[in-house]
Point group: C2
Chain length 383, copies 2
């Protein structure tokens, strides 16, 4: 009898019901993989689309145990999960990918940095501190970045400390790491997947486009505009990280390319990632399918590029909160090679990730210019 990883007799559980889970479900449909999801409210992006949806708290030991115990494989779409419950489930024979020990390491940015150091993975110099008052020990290393060891997310829990005055006004009083500010040339990202059989596959390197004028990351694009030797080095580095983590699943490795041409690991995410959304249209295999393949023990898919592309996040406008209205959508979807992905969140909030848009074009510069036009024509508001 063939072992089935699809249909009625196989249950894949996903902790978290957000957009990453939603796009995973969209992909899982092709393989008839039944995805069960858990998150606080059924109004989450996966709510009505999961094979079955459980309302529960992914940070609660009891909720995670109750949800996970009858699943064949458990995965996550966010790393802030009750790891103790996952460890228990793993002991009871549930396959948990990424493995709980990897999640534990990555949940704590201090442990993560120590892991890099111990394993000769290049990363910015750092110190760990227990509380705010320890900052004064490192006055002579100013300016630097302070990151909370736990609980940071989407830019939260990170602050830039430039003077000792900032120690009082801006610093976090919690176990943290302080890190040298990297004078980087570019921010890059490499997605890498690994299955139980040890097969490893990377996606081509993605680059962040930073707008000096707007002082923010404008979009991500693929392929990155880097020297082939850097591409090669980044790829080798990503493979090195996932192998040293001995992890199964998809891992996003965020890198700094320094002005000296060095690559430093900034941080990693053991799941599908914002920097891989373009793979839905731009690569033979999407990050969502690749993650599924990895955790189900299937052969990994080909990751080569079908077309260059640019991805922009569709964020809630700063001035609106309430039921979401996508102003300018019809104009945007009239354009060739422009793919809108809404996440199905009923309400918009300032800067909330409401969706993303991928722009494909044989010429990456053309894609960038369309991306800027699209960015200007669409707006997430509320009535």
């Amino acid at each position: 009898m063939i072992k089935k990883w699809y249909g009625d007799t196989f249950k894949l559980g996903v902790l978290g019901g957000g957009q990453l889970g939603r796009m995973m479900i969209q992909s899982a449909m092709n393989f008839d993989v039944h995805v069960y999801a858990m998150d606080r409210s059924k109004s989450a992006p996966c709510g009505t689309l999961a094979y079955d949806f459980t309302e529960g708290n992914i940070q609660s030991y009891d909720d995670v145990i109750a949800f996970g115990k009858d699943k064949d494989v458990l995965t996550v779409e966010i790393e802030h999960i009750n790891v103790e419950a996952l460890e228990q489930l793993e002991k009871e024979g549930v396959k948990v990918f990424p493995q709980p020990r990897v999640l534990k390491l990555i949940q704590d940015k201090g442990l993560q940095k120590e892991f890099y150091k111990k394993n000769n993975i290049p990363t910015a110099p750092f110190h760990l501190i227990d509380q705010k008052e320890n900052l004064s020990n490192y006055e002579n290393e100013l300016p630097f970045i302070q990151k909370m060891r736990k609980g940071g997310y989407d830019g939260k829990g990170v602050t830039s400390l430039n003077t000792t005055a900032d120690f009082t006004s801006k610093a976090f009083d919690t176990p943290s790491l302080i890190e040298e500010k990297v004078d980087f040339e570019k921010e890059l990202s490499v997605l890498v997947a690994r299955n139980e059989h040890g097969e490893v596959q990377t996606f081509p390197v993605v680059e962040c486009e930073f707008s000096e004028k707007l002082n923010l990351v404008e979009f991500l694009f693929s392929p990155a505009n880097i020297d082939p030797s850097i591409e090669e080095k980044a790829t080798v580095l990503a493979v090195d990280v996932i192998e040293k983590l001995d992890m199964v699943g998809l891992l996003a490795v965020e890198l700094f390319l320094t002005k000296d041409g060095e690559l430093l690991v900034n941080e990693v995410a053991p799941r599908t990632h914002n920097s891989g959304h373009h793979t839905i249209e731009c690569n033979y295999t999407s990050q969502f399918e690749q993650h599924l393949r990895a955790i189900l023990g299937l052969p990994l898919g080909d990751t080569s590029i079908i077309t260059p592309g640019v991805m922009i996040n569709l964020l809630g406008d700063e001035k609106f909160e309430g039921p979401a209205v996508y102003q300018g959508m019809e104009d945007v979807i009239s354009r060739k090679g422009v793919y809108v992905h809404l996440y199905g969140k009923p309400t918009t909030k300032p800067n909330r990730k409401m969706g993303h848009i991928t722009i494909t074009n044989d010429e990456i510069d053309q894609a960038k210019s369309v991306a800027r036009e699209v960015q200007n024509s669409i707006k997430v508001v509320s009535n």
Copy 2:
């Protein structure tokens, strides 16, 4: 206030819960269109994936009324629907696309043929008969095809009559049409979409590959291997049909290219179609998204080809019936540019459509050869 066609405040109803509805839901997720579906059993391909699923009979007047009355737009994924109910709902202000009068016409192959004749749309010569005994009036036109006017589906309700002996042994005793056997060179298909604003868009012509050795349609491929003048003529013909039908939605126009280089309309389907599955990977806009755009009054998407491709149906093996097992799947999904779409049907039956596979390749001949290998390595069986 912007009229919303997404989110909580808009309900799209789909009559039928099969694979066409399933792939429509997969596409609708991108635009956050909430798809409600109705079919007999929740084990249908749309069962757990629809925003909400109603168990009901699409041929029952009462069930269709009950399901449709609170929807903003109603559509179908199969044409064998209770049209009287749709007409009533339309009167009550529900938008029904394709329109009930179009469904009525297409449900009856006799009316369909008369429509072509009346509107100067080229089609094979035919006669309508009420019962079996009328066949003898057309003895001197043998051989010909007999098609039941109503209820035929997937090759059922069609028979080939070659001698008067066949009148007794093979003919249907029901209102039918008899049609001259067309000595065709190729079978082609054109998908065409039209929205409420009268915008019309065709997809590039698709060709059926018939295997003389196997005596069956082996696969469909795009672009068709035809002269540009035939491509142009087929496209104009498809536009002509949808405009004369004054239809909103997606229409599949199946054509014969005769040995004399003439195009004849074989039949049409007012919905997404088997001959358009490759558009998911091969075209800028898929047939499923195009149908949604058409019925929601959105601008139609660009239909140009991203890559040539071949589509094969994944049929239940003739010797098995029971819980589906996809033998050889892992081998198939190891190949670059091979996309498996399973329909999530729990049980396989001989020749049941269980899924499809699209093979993309810059070289169509290469795609065809991979398609043949794939066809030989995958098998839908049961334990």
